[in-house]
Amino acid sequence: MIATTAMEVNAEARRILAVSISKLYASRSQRGGLRLHRSLLLSLVMRSARDIYHSSREIEMPSAVQPTPEPMETSSSSPAGEQIVPEPQPELQTSEEPESGDEGCEEGDITEDKENMSPTKQSRKRRGKAAAAPDFLPIKRARLEPGEERHAAPHCRGAESLSALSLNLNRAIAAF
């Protein structure tokens, strides 16, 4: 019963995140430029949804408890190498690996993650928060970059992208 509710909440959180990301995308092209107030509200909703999403996943998979999202993200990105996107079911994989000292080098790993991104993603030009979004959106770019593997399960990429996304969200607001 609790698991079902958690699943529903999880689905709801994911849906809200998808909606929020497409709104962020759309706001890039609106007249007058990015609206700071609207962008801030969108990022707050996304953060709430992300937190709910993570906490509901913890309820779903109590054996794979990760207290903070950051270790999940960094451990998935460090073995990723050239791959932007980790294998399906990364949460289970990463949870089995012992985490140590990762939180300390969180910043460094995130930097590494950025460096390992394909050139088109890691554009020097400040694109705004939506630059990190594409993974989570159902609409995909038609072409593949060298070294990138396409994965058929967008919902599994969700967790890592969420964390990366909200961090990039903050950076994007800074850029604005």
Partner: protein
Amino acid sequence: MAGAGGGNSDVQWCFSQVKGAIDDDVAEADIISTVEFNHSGELLATGDKGGRVVIFQQEPESKNQPQCRGEYNVYSTFQSHEPEFDYLKSLEIEEKINKIRWLPQKNAAQFLLSTNDKTIKLWKISERDKRPEGYNLKEEDGRYRDLNTVTTLRVPVFRPMDLMVEASPRRVFSNAHTYHINSISVNSDCETYLSADDLRINLWNLEINDRSFNIVDIKPTNMEELTEVITAAEFHPNQCNTFVYSSSKGTIRLCDMRASALCDQHAKQFEEPEDPNNRSFFSEIISSISDVKFSHSGRYMMTRDYLSVKIWDLNMESRPVETYQVHEYLRSKLCSLYENDCIFDKFECCWNGNDSVVMTGSYNNFFRMFDRGYRQDVTLEASRENSKPRSVLKPRKVSTGGKRKKDEISVDSLDFNKKILHTAWHPLDNIIAVATTNNLYIFQEKLN
């Protein structure tokens, strides 16, 4: 319940006029973005998305129809702002008029401030009803005569002409805002005014357009730590040293300019603790304040957030003295309202002349009035169906329970594209101006 207004529970509202195109296909430039009466109520200004300002003037009351107050007819129309392009940021600057504020009248001319996202302009609206005639220096076709042929000295005489209303920009206040301007407010000293954007508030002198003072700056050193933005600001109606600004977090800060040059430290902070039962994904969005207005007396201020209107006593910071639910039935629909963007709508609110009634808009072209003294509220509708001259507006009701009574409308039937964001109340009489998407409705109190 007949109506609410003027502290008298018997006030009934009648349709008076509607301005704007009738067809359903709304041109984006015609969308009304601000409505404001001047201090006497004789003039009513509207701004639209196309950057135009239209001013209506009330006709003097005619002796033939003492039941009606004068009608409002077009007095002046001018293009206030044009679209611009910021080449440095590669951004277009919209010409949409965000706010209009009238200056108190000092001489024959009228002055107003209008602003878009980046630039504020001071407009002078003056009448010309005479022109000098009788010059003998020019030929009929306008060529100057050879002065040797001019033998008499003729002094021109002023003769009446058809009334001409001219609007000219007297000052342009630009390049002072990095973010989008959301408010302007004229000080009671009639010499200064403030302009507020998402993170900063600037103080201007009406005479000086190349300099402004920054009085509030909430920009964090690290933008990644940004948690709130300024949503509205207003000067106190009587105390020229006091102003308030509201935030996206639902707080209002009152500042005293005598305390220091930079008013980052507030003198008072008004905030109501959030009800934990109402917590949802969208709690932050719906607590964001979209408008703040002082009462005419200066004792109270009113704030509008997505679902409610709150009246605050300036002497009490801990919670509002009155809270009115505008459309509580939307609380369970927040997710859909988020998806269709309606949750981001910024509703304004206004006081009546003696601060006894407050008004704000809603969806389906409904607007709501709350009578503070009689504790009554009414929902009325601005629609072409109810636009027979002097027809009394019937109160509307949204059915929230399972059973829908006759004449009630269910929440799911509400048209969320028909929203009333801007309303204004005549400063002295019971005359209101209500803006639907592209039409301006004027309603008056029914006089017997």
